[in-house]
Assembly symmetry: C2
Homo-oligomer: 315 residues x 2
């Protein structure tokens, strides 16, 4: 498989950047594009990057998955994780026997519904550590980092994981294989679960404000503790040292707006379910008490709801 066929579903900032990188490394990349279809088909996607600018001309651009001419070796899903995006339904027409489904998305337990829909297919779960945003139709700005961690779901690594890693590395994207990718998702959640929601709930504030107030700092710590305990309850070993490490790392960072706050300010729907809803539902399933996570989940739902309603009203 020298030039694998890759279909990108969700050609936003993440999908465009990693898709473009894989194409540069030699893969045949097709992008599913909705609103910017005409623009991207004609012009490709222009990527302004700290690693050097480039134009990503996909081998194919389709508006519907069915229109893709090939059966993909990989389908890379890089949409946001939102209740009204039904990934299983979108990708179904092109999931072949040997298609690996790759998720480059946020959240916890997001693989589960897709794995259930395609039990025979290989799944690869990824964590992207990157600062990238869409600035206009077909225009992506990659401003920071780019590291990606990949591994099979629920665990291990296959040949397809190795091939994907080689492609990323060829394109100078630091890629690490992690045979315990779920543990790493939980580990990322230790930061995400407190800081993303509190930046919104606390009144559109940056990380430094959250850390400066003793009560909210202690609240962050209590949430982190719950995430760690819950992960451990599910058999993913995380140490409480992560708390101190995450807090001190965040303290030494410049004041930072978590991505959820950026979404909120731009009236975009928040990944409430992927980050908090799935977490509290896992806890409820085993009757594990997570009152702090439950509290921010309930508050964030109200804020997300109001934010979307307001958007609807104002358009």
């Amino acid at each position: 498989m020298k030039s694998p066929n890759i279909l990108i579903v969700g050609t936003g900032a993440i999908g465009s950047f990693y898709g473009g990188s894989l194409a540069r490394a030699g893969a045949n990349v097709c992008t599913l594009v909705r609103s910017d279809y005409e623009y991207v088909k004609t012009n490709g996607i222009s990527i302004k990057s700290v690693m050097g600018d480039f134009i990503f001309k996909p081998h194919e651009v389709v508006q519907k998955v069915e229109d893709y001419s090939k059966t993909p070796d990989y389908i890379i899903v890089s949409t946001k994780v939102l209740p009204d995006i039904n990934i299983e339904k979108i990708i179904k027409p092109k999931v072949g026997k040997n298609t690996a489904i790759v998720l480059i998305q946020n959240g916890i337990d997001i693989e589960q519904p897709i794995s259930e829909a395609f039990p025979q297919n290989e799944m690869i779960s990824c964590l992207a550590f990157i600062g990238v945003s869409k600035i206009a139709p077909g225009q992506i700005y990659h401003q920071d980092h780019g590291r990606i961690v990949i591994g099979n779901y629920p665990k291990g690594k296959t040949k397809k994981v190795e091939i994907l890693k080689e492609l990323f590395n060829t394109s100078r994207i630091p890629c690490m294989v992690d045979e315990n990718i779920i543990t790493s998702r939980w580990k990322k959640l230790v930061w995400n679960a407190p800081f993303n929601p509190i930046s919104v709930i606390g009144g559109n504030i940056t990380t430094d404000i959250i850390l400066k107030n003793t009560e909210s700092l202690n609240f962050v710590i209590r949430i982190m503790k719950e995430v760690i305990s819950l992960a451990n309850a599910f058999g993913y070993p995380l140490s409480e040292d992560l708390i101190h490490q995450n807090i001190s790392d965040t303290m030494s960072m410049a004041p930072y707006k978590p991505s959820m706050l950026l979404d909120f300010e731009n009236k975009r729907p928040l990944e409430v379910e992927a980050i908090l809803g799935n977490t509290v539902r896992l806890a409820r399933k085993i009757s594990f008490q997570v009152p702090n996570l439950e509290a921010i989940y309930a508050m964030l739902l109200l804020l997300d709801e109001g934010n979307r309603t307001y958007k609807r009203n104002s358009t």
Copy 2:
């Protein structure tokens, strides 16, 4: 004591309305007025009321407590409960041997610091169920209810409580004596602790929005449970029936903006400490876990802080 001398500290909406009512019933009422001193001294306070409009002309109007010509039989404190208002210091010059200190204020455990500062004085704690607001200097609008519940702190009723009750009743203010006033404060907190904070934290929303979302409704119920359990732990008997009662009462009300939301929208400081801070500190004192109250306390502190900062920046 046919015409008791009463000093009102905190001549806002509450102080003006109840002070004016006591004056009409025959008490000698002096008001401490800061910003509106000249206006009130000249014109008195105009009270537009559903019970009939009237002008309240205090017997004395002072800018400093020291300027009051008498030693009061009652000092009625009707300021907001805020960390930067030091009531003990303000009233000290006029607290005589026989002065009863009367609090018409929100919150829990608010009597404690004042009782500690004046251990020899009688204290009367009151709960006001009223809709009243200041619409301009010396202009008060009483739009709804007016009932007041009074009793000695920490419990019982004295002659002075009876006299106060008679004065209120003479002025057609429904007044009930409650010999277990602290229990009643906790009971009021069962509603206040969830609805006031969540109306702000959830994005400036009315009670109907809070109740419509299942997750936030359950969050409200969990907070109410905590308040009831904590009250019981301190020996104030409250039943869990209050939960259903409060929820169904609120559901049958018209969509309602809690007073904390009105304060927040008007960039006024919130009574975070009186309602939540004191509650969580009581819980911590006896190592009683109240994670839901802790969560809204931390979030509300951030929002109040941001709200005041913004006010400073914009003036």
